[in-house]
Symmetry: C2
Subunit: 258 residues, 2 copies
């Protein structure tokens, strides 16, 4: 949504194309520089940082809407995306932050009972993406973005902080049941990388020796011949997931501690 015509049509007629009272605001996780990060957008009209988001078309299946929104924002297709909670306990989400002034500045009149003022529940999805493949696309409403370390999330719009917290908690709970490492890491990665990732998600230290030993013993990852040269010390070997063993293991749930 970039031209003023599109925006005006969205404000005036959006309620005919989209389901009212509902939005999808995905928490997009990426991993870079040994940090777990989420994608935040700066919403101009609302004047603050928040999750990327979008509405559900009237005849569009819910999960398809989530994929479309993600595609529109990041260019990614076939992404791992999982619904984790529907937020509807803060009943008056948009009324707190009246964007009327913003639209008027551009000559768009919202009218009295514009659909964008109504109560909105948000279906929360989280996405696990390969950080290096994301191409954030901004639009009329969102001209800045940042990848923000989950340890330093600022105060966000609406109930988005609650959504981020819940997404993280879900990630933690499902770490042994979903392909979390597989989706967040690039194809080839080092032991320290996967080790730090799991420590970050679980929020606790894991003995690096035992951690690596377990992953290899279970046949979840395999060592490659290549090494990666980084820094003034021994070069780490590269590893790769054993896709089949890994997926089988997740079905059972990896009960062990890694």
């Amino acid at each position: 949504m970039n031209s003023l015509e599109e925006v005006e049509d969205f404000v005036r007629n959006g309620h005919r194309h989209y389901l009212p009272h509902l939005s999808i605001d995905p928490v997009i996780f990426g991993y870079h520089d040994q940090q777990l990060k989420i994608l935040l957008l700066n919403w101009k009209g609302l004047n603050g940082w928040g999750l990327p988001g979008g509405f559900i078309q009237r005849r569009e299946p819910l999960s398809q809407a989530a994929h479309r929104i993600l595609q529109e924002r990041t260019g990614l297709e076939n992404v791992f995306l999982q619904q984790f909670h529907t937020f509807g306990d803060s009943p008056y989400r948009l009324q707190e932050r009246n964007p009327r002034e913003f639209f008027e500045k551009y000559g768009v009149d919202m009218g009295e009972d514009n659909w964008l003022f109504e109560r909105t529940l948000s279906v929360g999805y989280f996405a696990l993406v390969d950080y290096s493949k994301v191409n954030v696309r901004t639009d009329f409403f969102t001209q800045n973005y940042q990848w923000c370390d989950v340890k330093e999330i600022p105060s966000l719009l609406f109930d988005h902080n609650e959504a981020v917290d819940k997404a993280l908690a879900t990630l933690r709970l499902q770490i042994y049941h979903q392909p979390i490492g597989y989706k967040l890491l690039p194809e080839k990665f080092t032991l320290p990388e996967i080790h730090t990732l799991y420590e970050t998600i679980l929020g606790k230290e894991l003995d690096p020796r035992n951690f690596a030993k377990k992953l290899v013993a279970l046949g979840l990852i395999k060592k490659l011949a290549e090494q990666r040269a980084i820094g003034p010390h021994r070069s780490p070997y590269l590893y790769q997931f054993e896709k089949e063993t890994y997926e089988d293991a997740l079905k059972q749930g990896i009960v062990h501690t890694y």
Copy 2:
């Protein structure tokens, strides 16, 4: 909703009181006779078995709506209720089963574009209740009910079978993180009772000796002096949850196998 006036008002004006396109259909679990059961209602107008359900009032927080609906259907308050998924991938839920005939029989005209025909997403909650305390309340739309063993669920309305399956899967995943036994069992219970409950939920056999040993060793349950006389054999002792230890353990997640 029992009188014809109420029903007529609901059909005609419900869209003013409730959020359109959304419903809540709780999966209510109870445990009786060594069987895990869910509550099903026979929906007259739709002519089939389905979950109890209801709509969200326009200014009502989502979780409060879930509790209200549960209260209206079963008389229970302060019930353990957990959201587990929002269903919106079958876009045309009600259009498959047109209840127009049913209402016309009672002289209620639905009109052409009645709100009840529109696409409806369903926010799925599951409840864990003490079977013995439930008082099912039927109404104009629902005159029969049954507690149905989860192993024998018939074909249900809309996507309710999917909802039941997903609720069960969630129960299984969360068995070591939520007070599942605590909420489903009566205050005092026997070892065989809790043992069968866990076997049913997990869908696999657990060695009864090790199972009991573990629960007692972790301090989750304690043996009472009383026994219960049942059947032509040794009477089992009664046990009770150690509420505090139990809740602490759940926060960590009981990693062990029981």
